[in-house]
Amino acid sequence: MSDGHGPLPAPSAADAGDSGCVASPARFGGLSESRLLEIFRLMYTIRRFEVEMERTHLDGEIYGPFHSSMGQEAVSVGVCAALRSDDVVTSTHRGHGHAIAKGAELGPICAELWGRSTGYCGGKGGSMHIVSTEHGFVGQSPIIGGSGLLATGAALAFDLTRQSRVAVAFMGDGAVGQGVFHESLNLAAIWRLPVVFVVENNGFAHSFRAAQMQLNSQVASRAEGYGIPGAVVDGIDVFAVYAATRAAVERAREGGGPTLLEAKCYRWRGHNLGDAEHLYRPREEVEKARRDDPLDRFRSAISDRISFPTLATVEAEVESQIAQAVRFADQSAPPDPQSALEGSF
């Protein structure tokens, strides 16, 4: 269906992927310097936050499963930069980056990971269940595919109440084979719901490469089957992600219905802490991939507009914010056991 294709800017991973691409203003999607700095701050925050959390986990201060967002910063930030604060995001088991990009605060996120009373969910949720309604971060579902349904439902609520809000579902490439992926896209399509499905194709579903899971591993091409627009975007390039998301979000807001975005990126860390990565991918592949760093791409892209010292200042601020967040969690009391026995039916 040709009408199934919207006018999306869809730089293929191939052409945008090579080299830290040139800084033509257009590539900034017309973002002001302060927005650019904000984008950098968020990407840098995610990167450093994950490093810190991983450390505290290995030190035994955090327990439970841990899925790092490292390497996927440009997707989280590029997508959320295109959203209004009252738009909502649903997420997956790998959601720290999404939460931060949507504006959630480091302290309560960190405290939740640490299982402290001051965490966003009072310690009931943990790493895979962070929620901050105040920031429109309305739920992670580590049940693969679940985020798509929640966002579709949220979009239905917006549609029913004639609000011009948009819902975004972050999903992994592993979700594409799930029945709920199919059902979510189909429902959103026939009801023209204001939702954007962002599949972060980070190369792996645990040890699996997309091609092992689907014969047609061009995730974005699935959009056609549902009669909705689809686009592939270079997930290392925050501007490309931002531009594609913006177009999709605008279409959604104007009643144009859902879009399927595939953001190609790479999962820098193992599936989770303790994952036996070596069983399925060579160290060299990881190292090569990491050389194409979303932060470096950003730096070189905006080098002629924002000076290095300016970025350095932001980095310093972020470092202290993270240190603060860790202190906050560290100094927070563990939850009162009694609170486990409240809030259900």
């Binding site: 909502v88 649903t90 965490g119 966003y120 969910c121 009072g122 310690g123 009931k124 949720g125 269940h129 929620v131 901050s132 309604t133 309305v138 739920g139 579902s141 049940i143 679940g146 349904l149 929640l150 966002a151 579709t152 439902g153 949220a154 979009a155 239905l156 609520a157 917006f158 029913l160 109440t161 819902a167 029945g179 709920v180 059902e183 979510s184 189909n186 429902l187 026939i190 009801w191 809030g343 259900s344 039916f345």
Partner: protein, 330 residues
């Protein structure tokens, strides 16, 4: 007072919910202009518009999952699952999402969703369209489970269910749809967790729900002729469960039979009996007994179905066993 059928009550209850709360809407298959395969939504699409009475594709996961997402954003979805058996197709949305999100989120998210469905035997739909599965959901913290037996309760309990800030499983029985009952206008909301005594008696208490309440009343009438006085309690909701009412009744009758159409093995009667035994052991003059269906899939043919489904005959027999009039037949 007006007398209406059970299905009319379901229809009125939904109409009143949509009229009373602009956040309420209905999703399901064939519920729009078609009016529902059991006519539960007849006329509602015309009255409230197809955007609030939404026909769904055949996709239970998305129906229930989208309901959860909409509820989280402040809506009050009423989701109709055509046959209770199909809940198995959308179990994840109910169990892993609807029931847990409020708790997991530290009370940031609420899922005020009512899942309406109907189940049970008697229409010879066969193994995959006749199950009675409420017992699963007692075991899922975070869900309320409601099973009205009369039109009045349908209307009273539905109001409470839609208003509740937790997901509710609202279970009807196909075989009750044509039964009639009196309703006041309006019907006042009925709190969850409050059972009622449908018939008072002195010799034995039968605790039941839904269609089984009617069967228990039939048994009670039959046994009256044999001089047995049976008290019949309609629990009305399983979560919360009015154990206190049962215990109060036992303090007079000292004997208990728990009746449900659900398969006896692993059924909710075990929950009630465990509570009663733990909290009222000394009141019991005889072992509490269960009248539930035998542990087989529900077969198609009449003769086969009635051989395994719990009905008034079984309830009567269990009462007699509980009273020592007959040997316990397991």
């Amino acid at each position: 007072m007006r007398e209406i059928t059970y299905i009319e009550a379901v229809r009125e209850a939904q109409a009143e919910a949509l009229a009373a709360d602009h956040r309420a809407f209905i999703m399901g298959q064939e519920i729009g202009e078609y009016g529902g395969v059991f006519r539960a939504t007849q006329g509602l699409a015309e009255r409230f518009g197809v955007h609030r009475v939404r026909d769904m594709p055949i996709a239970e996961q998305s129906m229930l999952g989208a309901g959860v997402g909409a509820a989280v954003m402040g809506m009050r979805p009423i989701v109709e699952v055509m046959f209770m058996d199909f809940i198995a197709c959308g179990m994840d949305a109910i169990v892993n999402h609807a029931a847990k999100m409020r708790y997991m989120s530290g009370d940031q998210l609420r899922v005020p969703m009512v899942i309406r469905t109907q189940g049970g035997s008697g229409t010879h739909h066969g193994s995959q369209h006749s199950q009675t599965l409420e017992s699963w959901f007692l075991h899922v913290p975070g869900l309320a489970v409601v099973m009205p037996s009369v039109p009045h309760d349908v209307k009273g309990l539905f109001q409470t269910s839609v208003a509740l800030d937790h997901p509710v499983l609202f279970i009807e029985h196909r075989a009750l749809y044509r039964t009639k009952g009196k309703v006041s206008d309006p019907v006042a909301p009925i709190p969850l967790g409050k059972g009622v005594i449908r018939r008072s008696g002195d010799d034995v208490t039968v605790a039941a729900i839904g269609k089984s309440v009617r069967q228990a009343l039939t048994s009670a009438r039959q046994l009256e002729e044999e001089g047995v006085s049976v008290e019949v309690i309609d629990l009305r909701t399983l979560v919360p469960m009015d154990v206190e009412l049962v215990l109060r009744s036992l303090s007079r009758t000292h004997r208990l039979v728990v009746a449900h159409e659900a398969v006896e093995r692993g059924g909710w009667a075990g929950e009630l009996i465990s509570r009663v035994v733990a909290e009222g052991f000394d009141e019991l003059d005889a072992p509490p007994l269960r009248a539930g269906s035998k542990a087989f899939p529900i077969p198609f043919a009449r003769e086969l179905e009635s051989a395994m489904i719990a009905d008034e005959r079984l309830i009567t027999r269990r009462i007699q066993e509980c009273l020592g009039m007959l040997e316990y037949s397991g």
